[in-house]
């Protein structure tokens, strides 16, 4: 009996040795590659490093791909069979991959998952990861735009700093009062650039007035474009709005050359550091009191390529990323795309107040698309914005032309 016991122990020991020797080696065979544009202070590389410390037997390799190359690199890699397992893709481009079967359908995995729960997400970000009612990814983070305003300038021009403009009429009125050419101050700053930034900034206004990208030449959209035209024609906004990105436009607000600015939470840190005045943030004004709200929605989504050899392991890594969503704001300065996570106070009163507005605005954020041909749709909208604002076409004509182009894309 004793001998038997010892031999059993010995056997177990031998087995343990074998397992001990082989288990890590086998586990190392599973390597999951992750691509994103995140650099050191953003989530992806940090989450990957933290995950590797857990020694789960899955090794994650990270590669940083610059934003401008991400889609092209990924497409090339996918078509030559070299795609990574996991990628973080800009949300309007998600459908491009999902519609062609390049992303793994995660619907069943998510249904079984105890970590990833679709009901936790804001509807906008979640919708951007879906294609034909199936889940092809999960939102990584989110952002949206709202109206920043300079409270000091409001006071100086006799406007109530605690009651920022709530409707389009009030917004134009405030912009007129705040514009001061002698002091180099424009009433409002935003971006109507001929790039995705222009679409990102314009769509919410059209959507608030009842338009959609499939139906862009409605009276509401014309009214929205006319609103923008008023800003430019009356020089309430700089003519360079047409060629300036959001970052540069908001820069003029920070330096006191614009009294209001339309921008997102990504500016908060810069504003806290740069702006030497009292400022606040309010929801995007609506066409008239009580009208439906809307906002645009930015930031990236996680997805797993359908070419992955280790879908289960990749999903586990994804689950880990999602489990760390509560660190998204505190550690990386991005807003989590989830309604169940309260954004922690930062101790900066201006920033905390602004965050509350952005989180509120997120409820109304709508994804661009989702449509696999989004870049073409977006270009049609950009062209319409620019030809109307430069006076080469009337707002109606410009949007009619955009509608025609979009119709051709939608088929």
């Amino acid at each position: 009996m004793g001998i038997h016991k010892y031999s059993l122990l010995g056997g177990a020991f031998a087995l343990a040795c074998v397992l001990g020797l082989y288990a890590p080696a086998q586990a190392e065979d599973v390597t999951i590659t992750v691509w994103s544009q995140d650099r050191d202070v953003r989530p992806a590389p940090n989450l990957v490093a933290d995950y590797n410390k857990l020694n789960t037997g899955i090794k994650v390799e990270y590669r940083e791909v610059p934003f401008d190359d991400l889609v092209n690199e990924a497409l090339r890699a996918y078509s030559t069979g070299q795609a990574p397992d996991i990628i973080a893709v800009d949300n309007p481009e998600h459908a491009l991959f999902a519609s062609r079967g390049a992303f793994l359908d995660l619907t069943d995995m998510i249904a079984k998952s105890t970590v990833i729960k679709p009901e936790n997400y804001f509807p906008g970000p979640l919708a951007s990861t879906m294609w034909k009612d199936r889940h092809y990814g999960v939102p990584k983070a989110t952002n949206t735009i709202a109206l920043y305003y300079n409270k000091d300038m409001f006071k100086a021009k006799g406007l109530d700093p605690d009651r920022p403009p709530q409707t389009w009429a009030e917004l134009v009125d405030a912009a007129r009062k705040l514009t001061d050419p002698a002091a180099n101050v424009y009433g409002i700053a935003f971006s109507a650039k001929a790039s995705e930034e222009g679409t990102f900034q314009f769509l919410p206004w059209a959507q608030m007035a009842g338009a959609t990208y499939e139906n862009i030449n409605t009276d509401g959209a014309v009214k929205a474009l006319e609103l923008w035209k008023t800003f430019l024609d009356e020089r309430l906004a700089s003519p360079d709005t047409l060629t300036r990105g959001q970052s540069d436009s908001t820069g003029t607000f920070n330096s006191g050359n614009a009294a209001m600015a339309i921008s997102g939470p990504w500016e908060l840190d810069r504003m806290v550091a740069e702006a030497k005045f009292d400022w606040g943030v309010t929801l995007l004004p609506v066409p008239e009191e009580g009208a439906e709200r809307s906002s645009s929605m930015g930031d990236f989504n996680w997805a797993i390529f359908s070419s992955t050899k280790h879908p289960d392991e990749a999903f586990k890594v994804l689950e880990y990323f999602v489990s760390q969503d509560d660190r998204m704001f505190g550690d990386f300065g991005l807003l989590p795309a989830r309604a169940d996570i309260a954004v922690a106070e930062t101790g900066q009163p201006l920033k905390d107040a602004a965050l509350k507005v952005f989180v509120e605005q997120l409820k109304y954020a709508k994804p661009r698309g989702p449509h696999p041909e989004w870049p073409k749709i977006s270009k049609a909208i950009q062209d319409a914005i620019q030809s109307a604002l430069t006076g080469q076409m009337s707002s109606k004509e410009a949007l009619d032309q955009a509608a025609k182009k979009i119709k051709a894309v939608l088929g």
């Binding site: 650039k193 047409l242 430069t390």
Partner: protein, 300 residues
């Protein structure tokens, strides 16, 4: 043909190797992509068929669609304006400077070297700097124009469709002038000075000497410069990306930027290739003109 044969027959083939090496290099690095590009313009290229070679052939459909787009002709017109104005501006200012430094005042060669600084700067840096200079509200250019009394309001160089293309042209002229100046300086210094001495003895004035000696002697330099200018201006992409993004409303869009935008922004690779093919045709036409115009010099 006989020469090639004899070199093979006599077993050396060294001259063939000399030709073959660069030729192989050219064919693999320039020829194949070029053919691939032309092929792509006749195919239906899809994002996901980008990695394969065999794709549905659609004939001239890409071309027909391209020319049906309202922005096509304005963009090609912009390209022509951009190329011609840039080359003329770069050449005239470059020639003026080259002649100026040719007078060889103290420190001339040193100053001339300094001018090259603009040429060695990366295009995106030049673009970023000009982006600030041309900025409507706070740009240096507007400040100078206003203070000197030439204008009384700000010109929105980047955002006014009447000026946007010219803003990029001004930046490009600045960018390319020093290169023109250096090449022309080399040409000028190659002219034997006794020609001028003889002409002066014969009583030719400065303008006559310039017209009858300098210009004819500079013919090949100028020809080469024009050909290079065409290539460089048609390659100019960075300034558009950095200053106007082709906007507003395509008023400063040119073929080379548009080709990139179609391929890598709208992922319409077939259309991007089509625009490139049209550009190639123009470059070939221009090079034929160039080769013909300098042919007699080659034979001389």
């Amino acid at each position: 043909m006989k020469g090639i044969l004899s070199s093979i027959v006599d077993g050396k083939g060294f001259d063939i190797a000399l030709v073959a090496l660069p030729l192989t290099f050219l064919v693999t690095l320039s020829g194949l992509p070029l053919i691939y590009n032309v092929l792509m313009s006749f195919q239906q290229v899809d994002l996901f068929s980008l990695g394969t070679f065999w794709r549905p052939f659609v004939g001239l459909k890409n071309y027909a669609e391209l020319f049906a787009q309202p922005e096509t002709w304005p963009i090609f017109a912009n390209t022509a304006i951009f190329v011609v104005s840039s080359i003329v501006g770069q050449f005239l200012i470059g020639f003026g400077l080259a002649l100026f430094f040719w007078t060889n005042f103290p420190g001339a060669s040193w100053l001339r070297g300094l001018f090259l600084v603009s040429w060695v700067m990366p295009g995106l840096v030049v673009g970023a700097i000009w982006n600030w200079i041309l900025s409507g509200d706070f740009g240096v250019l507007n400040f100078l124009l206003r203070e000197s009394g030439l204008t009384n309001g700000n010109i929105f160089w980047r955002s006014d469709p009447n000026y946007s293309l010219w803003g990029v042209i001004v930046a490009n002229i600045w960018f390319g002038t020093s290169f023109n100046m250096i090449l022309l300086s080399v040409g000028l210094s190659a002219i034997p000075s006794d020609l001028y001495e003889a002409a002066e003895l014969d009583g030719a004035n400065a303008w006559q000497r310039f017209r009858t000696i300098t210009l004819p002697m500079m013919r090949s330099s100028i020809g080469a410069l024009m050909a290079l200018g065409l290539i460089f201006t048609l390659q100019q992409f960075d300034l558009f990306a950095a200053i106007t993004n082709g906007g507003p409303n395509n008023s400063s869009n040119v073929a080379q930027y548009w080709a990139w935008e179609l391929s890598f922004r709208q992922y319409d690779f077939a259309k991007g290739a089509t625009v490139s093919v049209i550009m190639i045709v123009f470059v070939i036409l221009a090079s034929i003109v160039y080769v013909r115009s300098t042919r007699h010099e080659v034979r001389r």
